[in-house]
């Protein structure tokens, strides 16, 4: 009887203790304590979890590294391929822009017939300003034909072989082009130089030239057709004791970025040297 009583008492006491703890917990009296306990448990679990993941990575790493390296190589190859495609497409867009401009130019100047050519090289001598184009006698190119872009005059054909030609640029030190200053209504000679700068000489002292004046080929001498744009006057030099004025010129064509040019194939230069010899004699 005493045994049953004491057992019932124990159960009751334990129940009351549990109920008390529960009531205290629900009442928020164990908040700080439970947070500390939970934080401790979380730390321990994190520690175990981190070690477990590290061990798992260590065991499975060789397989992953091989697959990652393979994938990385594939992606790098793909990136390289895409970059090459982007560059190629950019080049095509540039070429298309240039060709569209040249087509516009040829449509705006229907009196001439043109042959498009790509610039494939430059003269190996730094003293000279010549370019090599990929059209030759097989394409109807002949010596002396003028070469232009949509921006203006480039030069003229100097030498021809079957599939290529050499073009003397107007910037070459040996180049001399008879030009007409449109605003001043005066003639002059455009000269190249070793540095690639171009200048005007033989301008009459009476001519009133100003910066910005447009320079066109005059057609005198028969070397070039008239009215091809060359550039603009930048500065002038007029000295009273000199026979002629000089001027520096900004060419319309960017000679450092020549890619595609047009050869005017229906123009034949006129050979006037026999007339000059007769006149001298």
């Amino acid at each position: 009887m005493n045994f049953h009583l004491s057992r019932s008492l124990q159960v009751t006491v334990v129940f009351l203790i549990m109920a008390g703890i529960l009531a205290l917990a629900l009442g928020g009296f164990f908040g700080a304590l439970s947070q500390r306990v939970i934080a401790g448990l979380v730390s321990i679990q994190s520690w175990f979890s981190t070690r477990y993941v590290a061990v798992e990575d260590l065991l499975s790493a060789p397989r992953d590294i091989v697959s990652l390296r393979t994938r990385n190589a594939e992606l790098e190859a793909e990136v390289s391929q895409l970059q090459a495609q982007v560059i190629e497409l950019q080049q095509r867009v540039n070429e298309t822009d240039i060709l569209a401009a040249l087509v516009d130019f040829s449509r705006a100047n229907p009196e001439s017939t043109y042959r498009a050519a790509a610039v494939i090289g430059r003269d190996p001598s730094p003293f000279l300003h010549y370019v090599i184009i990929n059209r030759g006698s097989n394409d109807g190119i002949r010596r002396g034909m003028p070469v232009v872009t949509n921006q203006g005059l480039v030069g003229r054909i100097d030498a021809v072989i079957s599939d290529a030609s050499r073009v003397q640029l107007v910037t070459d030190p040996g180049s001399a082009v008879n030009v007409h200053l449109q605003n001043a209504d005066a003639d002059a000679v455009l000269l190249g130089s070793v540095t690639g700068d171009v200048s005007l000489d033989m301008i009459s002292q009476e001519a009133r030239i100003e910066a910005g004046d447009l320079i066109l080929t005059s057609g005198l001498g028969g070397g070039y057709p008239p009215d091809l744009i060359i550039g603009q006057v930048v500065t002038t030099r007029r000295l009273e004791f000199e026979l002629f004025q000089q001027a520096t010129v900004q060419p319309a064509v960017d000679f450092s970025r020549l890619e595609i040019v047009l050869v005017i194939t229906n123009f034949r230069p006129i050979e006037i040297s026999p007339l000059q010899v007769e006149s001298v004699q």
């Binding site: 494939i120 090289g121 430059r122 003269d123 190996p124 001598s125 730094p126 003293f127 000279l128 010549y130 090599i132 100097d158 030498a159 050499r166 003397q168 030190p173 040996g174 130089s193 070793v194 540095t195 690639g196 450092s256």
Partner: protein
């Protein structure tokens, strides 16, 4: 037979010169790959065919340039002669010899080109040509000289294996 390799190398050299190096300008000058290559090749002790290489180089370059072929050939032969003369005197320091040949060879070739162009009617100012073309070209040639010398040494070892073994 081994000198046949001169044709593809010099042909590629002229194409590289015309398509690439001629566009890489410093002021108005640019490097002359064929000149530098001939200097490097002539300085290789085992090479006995440098004049033939100069002739082939002049042939290819003369085909592309407006400069008279005879002037190009004279310039390149001058470089070969200069290299042979200098290699006997400063043979213990090949890099020094290479730089010296490049320096003197560039001046020699440019002077010859200048004179021939003046004689054929191209109006070139002396001072302008010197400052805008010759000095910048000289600097670029000297920069090109060291790697080209290494390539020429490798090619010489490949084309003259018996000399390398000895």
């Amino acid at each position: 037979m081994r000198n046949l390799v001169a044709f593809p190398i010099l042909l590629l050299g002229v194409l590289f010169q015309s398509a690439v190096l001629s566009q890489l300008r410093l002021v108005a000058g640019f490097a002359d790959f064929i000149l530098v290559w001939l200097a490097a090749w002539s300085l290789q002790e085992q090479v006995d065919s440098a004049p033939q290489w100069a002739a082939i180089g002049a042939l290819f370059t003369g085909f592309v340039t407006h400069v008279p072929a005879i002037a190009v050939a004279a310039g390149y032969f001058s470089v070969v002669i200069l290299a042979k003369l200098l290699s006997r005197r400063v043979w213990q320091a090949p890099i020094l010899a290479m730089l010296a040949v490049t320096l003197l060879g560039t001046i020699l070739v440019q002077a010859e080109t200048y004179l021939v162009l003046r004689l054929t009617g191209t109006p070139l100012p002396l001072l302008g040509s010197l400052t805008a073309v010759t000095i910048p070209s000289l600097i670029l040639n000297l920069l090109l000289a060291i790697p080209v010398f290494a390539w020429a040494r490798d090619l010489a070892a490949w084309t003259y294996p018996e000399f390398a073994q000895a």
